[in-house]
Subunit: 379 residues, 4 copies
């Protein structure tokens, strides 16, 4: 035995959805063993949850600091090898920093930090730590997203000339129109959620996605955010004009007031030879549009897909995999890195992607506040 990577988890207890997602993802390729963590702030909930999961409670800790302290005492071949941070956003930074400083590999939920300043510090910390650090932009784990990236990299659509990404949800609609609710929801409280709600939560996914699939860095942005009510302190919608390297223009549209939308995240990249489109709610279809050719619909598991796409598909074509499998692929990539196996840069988002995402959020708010002007992103 001993072959599985020893995983600890911070947060994700109770009926946390992100908790289920990470736990299931970690088991999918038989690469990880959950050995402990701190699932809940309250000790009883923490232990209770461990029992619910059916895992031993000897490595369930009373808090994060205890975890670091106790685990560090364990022999290297027993110690947690990687810790997943699923706690509220403002805790990502201090936890990640300390874990890195103590030599742990880290899997961190997005947004990686609440300020870009923190993100830069974390980058420096990692340079010293030399461990593995992944940020879970979950959607980049989908086989057809990976296929899209590979095809663009291989020149299948030619030179990229237009970028468009939409991330529309409607969940905040019943909250935002109620003065009481909008003033008490933590997601709309800058103290708890940082400077942005919509762009911070989902716009940043769209930003990461276009960089991931197009291979083009965003250089500057012009944002028009929407707060709907003057007493509301956080954006709940925004359209962001985007300029990338090679003079490529694009647009990111994000909303939490697109009433009735569930998780309608799409990305469309057009090159001078062809276009590619993908939609998160139907993740097993990749649309290739080429002038004068029939529309082609690529699906997972076929041999026409790239290696990295096929590596992320467990079953034959026609057996739909979903978002758990997408996250599972990210965990699989991290496992390769931890095990010092060869892996592709596209297999999991790194601290660079995480930091860029945070910079994007800050600059979007800055652009809006300055009156919808162009603001440059850090390089």
């Amino acid at each position: 035995m001993g072959r599985k990577i020893r995983l600890g988890i911070l947060g994700g207890g109770g009926d946390s959805l992100i908790g289920v997602l990470h736990r299931v993802a970690s088991t999918m390729f038989d690469k990880y063993e959950l050995v402990g963590g701190v699932f809940n702030p309250k000790w009883e909930d923490n232990i209770g949850f461990a029992n619910e999961l059916g895992i031993p409670t000897d490595r369930i800790y009373k808090d994060f600091d205890a975890l670091v302290e106790e685990e560090s005492k364990l022999p290297v071949d027993e110690r947690m090898q990687v810790v997943s941070i699923l706690t509220p956003n403002f805790l990502h930074f201090p936890m990640a920093k300390k874990l890195l400083e103590n030599g742990f590999n880290v899997i961190c939920e997005k947004p990686m930090t609440t300020t870009y300043e923190e993100a830069k510090i974390l980058k420096e910390t990692l340079q010293l730590a030399k461990t593995v650090f992944a940020v879970t932009y979950t959607y980049t784990g989908y086989p057809m997203v990976r296929q899209m990236r590979e095809m663009i990299k291989n020149g299948d659509i030619g030179r990229v000339q237009k970028i468009d990404s939409q991330y529309y949800q409607g969940w905040i609609n019943p909250i935002i129109h109620d003065k009481e609710k909008r003033s008490t929801t933590w997601r709309l409280d800058p103290e708890k959620s940082g400077i942005s709600c919509c762009i911070g939560d989902i716009g940043t996914h769209a930003f990461d996605m276009i960089e991931y699939v197009s291979g083009h860095r965003v250089e500057s942005i012009l944002a028009d955010l929407n707060y709907l009510y003057s007493d509301n302190k956080m954006d709940i919608d925004g359209t962001i004009l985007v300029r990338c390297e090679n003079q490529v223009k694009g647009v990111i549209r994000a909303s939490q007031i697109a009433t009735g939308e569930e998780n309608n995240f799409t990305v469309q990249i057009y090159g001078d030879k062809a276009g590619l489109k993908w939609q998160q709610e139907n993740p097993n279809y990749l649309y290739l549009l080429e002038d004068g050719q029939p529309l082609r619909v690529l699906k997972p598991g076929h041999s026409y897909n790239s290696e990295i796409s096929l590596d992320g598909t467990k079953l034959p074509p026609g057996h739909p995999e979903g978002i758990f499998d997408s996250m599972g692929n990210i965990y699989k990539g991290v496992a390769k890195a931890i095990n010092n196996e060869p892996y592709d840069h596209g297999e999991f988002p790194t601290i660079i992607d995480g930091a860029r995402g945070v910079d994007f959020i800050e600059k979007a708010v800055e652009s809006h506040q300055k009156g919808n002007v162009w603001v440059e992103l850090d390089k």
Copy 2:
């Protein structure tokens, strides 16, 4: 007999696509009789085309001026009642003006004029003429577009809070990357096509559509256009931030370099109760998104649709009608107006819609040229 409206057509000869569209549309409800016109500049082509259509050649004229002169001499009950202008854009204004001055009803292709100045003059001309004037924003004739408008008007989605329209095509892609082609295509020649290519041709449809369905006037815009090459004089892509009355924000995205896209025109309007979405390439589906409810897909011909939607559907559900039928509905509305029958304001776009569309084009270019700043539209 004598019941049909006597129709003349300017342009649309040879294998003109817009010509087929208008002719078929005019016959669909047995309301019009094509009695003559000027189909082609060359006399032989003109006559030849009339013969091809199988219509008498006695009212085929050598040019526009002859048509006005000769038709005006005919008794009122023989004279053309309405003339459709399908000629190149720069001819719309002089032809429409003269026709109005001579008491004809007019159906005019979009863009109505090449400058907003002309559009305002035309509005004044019409005020004196008191005839019927329609601009053929074809897509507003689709039954499910009309249904969308009615539902929003009736409050079915609540207060409008977000607007998004996309009009993506890829047809200019093979032209734009060829220096020779892009310098010789008339669509990219400001002398022939006015100040805008992409926004002028399709962005304006998106603009009209959002005003049509949402019932909200656009008040100001911020445009980022794309010319791709420095020697290219016309925009071939653009994203336009939009602010409407009642503080509603939105975005219009138009492109002719969305490679592989055919005529991918969509509109999404979200209110505080629900959202509505429609796509031109599958025009018989209207999507109603409501929190906590199953997605509902409305289709033409069902009794749950509004009167104006049903009026534009000829066959029972499941028998797909298309773009000819959409234009046919606009002609049907115009026929009602000419025949002094009651009709709904939504049955055909008017000179006001036409003028607003031209103002939008000019302001989009202005916003872009000034460095992506907000510019107000005329009220």
Copy 3:
């Protein structure tokens, strides 16, 4: 002038849907001029309807016999060249027969006759008459149906090995469960509607479609029909096992109790190289399935389509045409035949297709009544 084909119409008056369909279809390519007919049994309705259409009333006749008599007296170059029969089914045969005997070209709605015996007599009549005879299986006019036929003919899917067609509607559901209604609806009265309701009305379309696109004749069938109630005299649902030439097996499924279905007519043909699928409610998509290849979606108007498909598309890709355009293509084909222009056998269904459809209906009922046994179709 005189270039247009002089068309007469029998039936289709008032708010008849089939009437609109044929009239609009006839005008779409500027090939026909409606010169008269008998639209309604009652003289006032007949004349009233002609006025509504805005056509001269001098060739509106009091009844069918008068039409034949009077038109026959006219000089050849004034006489109706073709007459469309849109009357109730039982009138198709006597009208078609007399028209053929008097030298008229005929366009006949389906089912062509109410018995196969009549169909055979009609075939003999046509052999003497040597005029053009078309049966309007409307759906074979869709460009992508024609493309499907061409691709199969060209071997694009290899040797045909499986056939499946579905024609599901739900319209009879509110009638069939009401004892009063089901005993009084003419569609369920054998005296008025022949021996079959569902198979006669829509099953026959599916039968014609599979022969049209696959190029394979059906040789024998085994039918299990459904009447739902013992006092109901007509089938309202049925599944029919099918055996075609070259040992190809298949199935036709037709229903009028598929509650909520509108006009869900589909055809799927699989060969040993690939498969092709088409759905009437989204008629502008043809799906090509090939092992190990991305799904390809062909659409009308692209140069990759065959000549006969492109001939039936009036506008560029992305401008959806519909069922009127489909029927328009059939009328266009008939016009070519009447004008002695070259045309493809696939441009309109002939008397052979019409007769086979009637044989199919009779044999389906026979198979069912004999206890679901195999019955051979006439060759």
Copy 4:
């Protein structure tokens, strides 16, 4: 700890797909712990695979008999509680029988046995054993399949009046046309695969599905199978007419020569009030068709779904789950039964469903061989 159910697995080693599916499914709800099994016939592969999975090898046995013997010696609270049988079909029966006789709970892949005779013996064995027995008709675990069942049970579509299920694949196409391949593939060898290939493998899923969702037992069937070549001994396609209780008629269509199809499994049930449709390849959409109402599309995770559907959805709407999650739900149901928690009969298929499926296969072949006659299923 000790809360997790101790699971053993037979088969599923190496790169077995069914192995991955069961293992991932078992972990999804933290209910099972894989403690051992026999993954491969060869000892080295068996142990190697256990190491790959990172599980202790002390309970990896050399063969099935050793597993039963050794596990039976363990104290009750250490012994495997349930064993999943993923071996080739002909081993299902002897393994299941012995496991039951020794008091184990069993999860068995389909088809449960290779003959109905065996199935009946197994039922008797289970009656004595009184343990839990589940057959993994995987697709019944999808939340929207469960929702479909609940809605029909609740009368949402009224009285069921028509049933249609399709299971089309194309995978055998490249094999069947090659004389060499078709004579050597084990799936086409009756010695190894029982009496049916297509009906046995996928037709049986369709059969189980219609009984599951409609709540109607199939009473008799008439099958027309297809072998394509006279030297081919196993059906690779078939259409089966179906008669259910309450005189409901239907049809099951299954094929492995539907070239290009992946796993196109659909079910459509129509009642006298509405219809419901579901497709396996897009499993998160359930279509509700009601006369005169917009089409409604139900999706997982919404509160409008039934309890059993919601119980099988881990994430909020818009986060697509797939086939692993479907199987996970079946394992979750089995866990409830093993833990003596309350559960719904629809949470996992039982031995009755398994036995019916085997009876169906045998009767389909019998019907075909007797010349496509009606054959009754056992009650």
